[in-house]
């Protein structure tokens, strides 16, 4: 056995090290960010550690490698933060290219320094072997395992699936993305220090474009949905050339060809990466009973939102023009009007996604247009659904609603890391809240299904459940009955009235006029951005201006959108 270990020591160690590197990609891919700066970050960390690793254990006790790792991870995290500041607003390909460019700049900077040895590189003492590498990998993997079931982990997954919806659920997207960036930097720094102290050498060229691409490939091949993915990817890709060597594939062009082919096959036929091969046992579907302690909702009649002279202009178009709106607790306010009347724009203003051009008012106590970001308004108690359903498609229905419960649940990651039971309790409370909402909309039996797989009507209801999980003061529904038949729309109407009875205030956009008349306590009609009528439903429905602009003759009025 020891002979085997000796002849494969490096391969086994590299499996762990490239696994660590792959985790640094996983950290950002979890949040849907394609960042390729990790190679440069690892490089900077490795070389910086060469400056600080002492010849003897620090204070006689702290191992040299630990000093190196601490410094390396700090450097990696700090540089990632600095890089993140300017690139945080980039997405997709732009982000990838910007981070790639950063990596190249780091490489060139380091090559031109004399303290790195330039192209000739630097020697390092050997401080890392199989135990250290696998221990580091285990710690990193543990972190990501615990992250998976935590509130933070769900928030990152939500951001990956749909950033805007995540924002509307109260998640500070920018902060979370930066957190995943910094984590990725720290893990990349760890990799750099470990690698240099294993192979006894580092030169800036070893951390270039192709290294970054290799790390990305490892992470994607392993799979980015499950925490074990990067480990699988690294085992597979590290073993591949050695396997080819072992089974006698001749040295030369055939090996890179076979490697490329294997990679292609995995990507084409295993969409979730190697991690998808692991049969996913859905967790226990316990039905916890204890609901979290939630603050009482405001008493009926309390002013919730009050807007004056709100205007929104897009170029020359007056999307919203001089609108006044008042909403009091337990009201169900219906907002109707022809397409393009400005309804969605108005609720975007109310929920803080869009600032008004002028006008003033408050929503749940926060002044409108004050620059308060949308997620803060969500955290203050405003929840919403969207006209084109914005669910987190690849997450289960339950997970979707759990993200909705972000506002009323407590962060659990740090406690999960040390396996504190209070974390488990808080998770169960969040779970209870989520289940309660699923039950409320009648989807409790679909809890484990992926949201993207649900039928249309269920998806609409799921979105409502998700919005409810936040225990909102004001719930905004944007065309929740779109595409529903009479029966479903009626059921929805009953649900909505039940919510108002529970104390939730509702602002509702709908084209289904019959449903609006049935459900709402008050109706506001918009046309060309202006309020043309407001009042109790029956009166508004008879208003000639409203009939002219929108309702048409009586029998047309019952059409759903």
């Amino acid at each position: 056995m020891s002979g085997f270990l000796d002849s494969y020591a490096s391969t086994i160690t590299f499996m762990a090290l490239t696994g660590v590197f792959a985790y640094s990609f996983y950290a950002v891919l979890m949040a849907g960010q394609l960042s390729l700066a990790q190679a440069g970050l690892a490089s900077a960390a490795a070389f910086t550690s060469s400056l600080v690793v002492p010849a003897e254990p620090l204070f006689g006790v702290i191992p040299r490698l630990v000093v190196g790792i601490a410094v390396g991870m700090t450097v990696g995290a700090a540089l990632a933060f600095l890089l993140g500041l300017p690139v945080m607003r980039l997405r997709g390909v732009f982000l990838a290219i910007a981070t790639l460019a950063f990596g190249e700049v780091v490489r060139i900077l380091l090559i031109n320094q004399s303290w790195t040895g330039g192209a000739e590189g630097l020697s390092f003492p050997k401080l890392v072997g199989i135990p250290q590498a696998w221990l580091a990998l285990a710690v990193v993997a543990y972190w990501f395992w615990r992250l998976g079931g935590s509130r933070l982990g769900r928030a990152l997954a939500a951001i990956r699936e749909d950033e805007l919806a995540a924002k509307a659920m109260g998640i500070d997207v920018t902060r979370h993305r930066m957190m995943s960036f910094v984590t990725s930097g720290a893990v990349a720094g760890l990799y750099g220090v470990l690698l240099a102290h294993f192979v006894r050498f580092a030169d800036p060229n070893a951390f270039g474009f192709s290294t970054a691409v290799e790390g990305l490939v490892t992470a994607v091949v392993g799979g980015t949905a499950l925490f074990i993915g990067p480990l699988l990817g690294s085992v597979f890709l590290t073993a591949l050339p050695e396997l080819q060597r072992a089974i006698g594939v001749e040295a030369g062009w055939i090996r890179p060809f076979v490697s490329g082919l294997m990679l292609l096959l995995v990507i084409l036929f295993l969409p979730g990466g190697l991690a998808a091969l692991i049969p996913h046992r859905p967790g226990r579907v316990g039905h916890p009973d204890a609901l979290p302690d939630l603050p009482p909702l405001p008493a009926a009649g309390t002013p919730i939102a009050s807007l004056r002279a709100i205007r929104k202009d897009y170029g020359g178009v007056h999307a919203v023009h001089d609108v006044d709106l008042d909403i009091a607790a337990s009201e169900i306010v219906g907002l109707i009007g022809p397409n393009g009347a400005g309804k969605t724009t108005l609720i975007n203003i109310v929920s803080g996604l869009v600032p008004p051009t002028s006008g003033e008012g408050t929503v749940v106590g926060i002044p409108v247009g004050s620059g308060v970001p949308a997620h803060r308004i969500a955290l203050a108690g405003v929840s919403r659904t969207f006209q084109q359903i914005k669910l987190f498609d690849r997450l289960s229905a339950l997970d979707n609603v759990l993200v909705g419960a972000h506002r009323v649940s407590r962060p659990t990651l740090l406690r999960r890391l040390i396996l504190l039971p209070s974390a488990r309790r808080d998770e169960r409370l969040a779970l209870a809240q989520a289940f309660a909402q699923l039950t409320r909309v009648g989807l409790a039996d679909r809890a484990r299904q992926a949201a993207g797989d649900l039928p249309y009507g269920d998806q609409r209801r799921l979105e409502i459940a998700r919005a409810l999980a936040a225990h909102p003061t004001l719930l905004i529904l944007d065309e929740p009955a779109a595409g529903m038949n009479h029966v479903e729309a009626h059921r929805l109407s009953v649900l909505i009235r039940g919510l108002a009875d529970d104390g939730v205030t509702i602002l509702l956009i709908e084209h289904n006029v019959r449903m609006v008349l049935e459900t709402c306590t008050r109706v506001v009609v918009l046309d060309f951005g202006e309020v043309i009528a407001a009042g109790d439903p029956a009166t508004v429905a008879r208003d000639p201006r409203v009939v002219e602009a929108y309702l048409g003759a009586e029998d047309d009025g019952a059409e759903s959108a």
Binding site: R89, L90, I97, V105, I108, F209, P256, G260, L264, L268
Partner: protein, 291 residues
């Protein structure tokens, strides 16, 4: 003046390479990282045609255009078509094109060996011209002219022809295009073919410019190509042209005034500033959608 011309010549090749990238990205929203392998492969095949088969360079260029096109069809069919409709199509496409590119390069080594290839000495007229105190070779002029002709031709084709209209429709909204009866698959295939055809010609021109082709010649230009399309605007054809020239000029001036060690830093610095100040690039129309 000499440096200005150097920058223009260098930039025109960068532009020709980048325009293939930006075409695929603009129409199909995909980044094709096998483009550099097409670049290298076409250079080798071009040299082979001139050296072994004795063909003139003027005949070789159109042949390579077609050859590149065929490679593009293969890339689309093998690396991108199977991923249609998949949630992670973006990442997966990146990686599948990387994998396919690696396979191409391995085959290239199998066929030609790992050594550098060169054109035979008499493949191209060697004359040099004087222009405003600078020395220019006929070859460089031809390269610029061919590159620009191709790019202008492409721009015209996209804006005037039926294929171009189809491409623009697919770029705007593939679903709507499908519903309107446009054969999206065919447009996709043709876009890749066209992009790779241009990349192939760029490879041969590049090899002519420096009289050498190496297996790894694609990777360094690939990074520059990415910088170019960002600077010019993703999806914008005139942007790729202008971006290429800008990057080429920036590099040359960096060498002259800053110091050649920092040459690439300048190019990437330019990239960074564009991304931060004007992320859609100089001509890009696509807004970096925040909402």
């Amino acid at each position: 003046m000499q440096q200005l011309l150097n920058g223009i010549f260098l930039g025109s090749i960068y532009a020709l390479f980048a325009i293939g990238f930006t075409l695929v990205f603009g129409v199909l929203d995909r980044l094709n990282l096998a483009h550099s392998a097409v670049f290298s492969t076409s250079a080798f095949v071009g040299i082979e045609l001139v050296a072994r088969a004795g063909l003139s360079i003027w005949v070789t260029l159109p042949i390579i255009f077609v050859f590149g096109g065929v490679l593009g069809l293969v890339i689309e069919r093998v690396a991108f078509r199977p991923l249609k409709g998949r949630h992670d199509a973006h990442f997966a496409g990146l990686i599948s094109s990387i994998a396919l590119g690696a396979m191409f390069l391995a085959l290239l080594q199998a066929g030609f060996g790992p050594d550098t290839r060169r054109f035979p000495p008499d493949a191209f007229p060697q004359q040099r011209l004087e222009f405003a105190g600078a020395v220019v070779s006929v070859l460089q002029l031809v390269i610029v002219v061919v590159a620009f002709a191709l790019m202008v031709g492409l721009t015209l084709m996209v804006s005037r022809s039926r294929l171009g209209r189809g491409m623009r429709a697919v770029a705007e909204n593939p679903h709507a295009a499908l519903v309107l009866g446009i054969d999206v698959d065919r447009i996709t295939a043709l876009t890749f073919a066209l992009s790779s055809a241009l990349g192939g010609v760029a490879g041969v021109l590049f090899a002519l410019n420096v009289n050498s082709a190496q297996i790894s010649m694609g990777s360094s230009i690939e990074l520059k190509g990415l910088a170019v399309i960002i600077v010019g605007g993703l999806g914008s054809l005139p942007g790729a042209m202008l971006g290429g020239l800008l990057v080429g000029l920036a590099e040359v001036f960096a060498v002259t005034y800053v110091g050649s060690s920092w040459r690439d830093v300048i190019a990437f610095g330019l990239l960074f500033s564009i991304l931060l100040l004007r992320p859609q690039g100089i001509f890009g129309a696509r807004q970096v959608r925040e909402i």
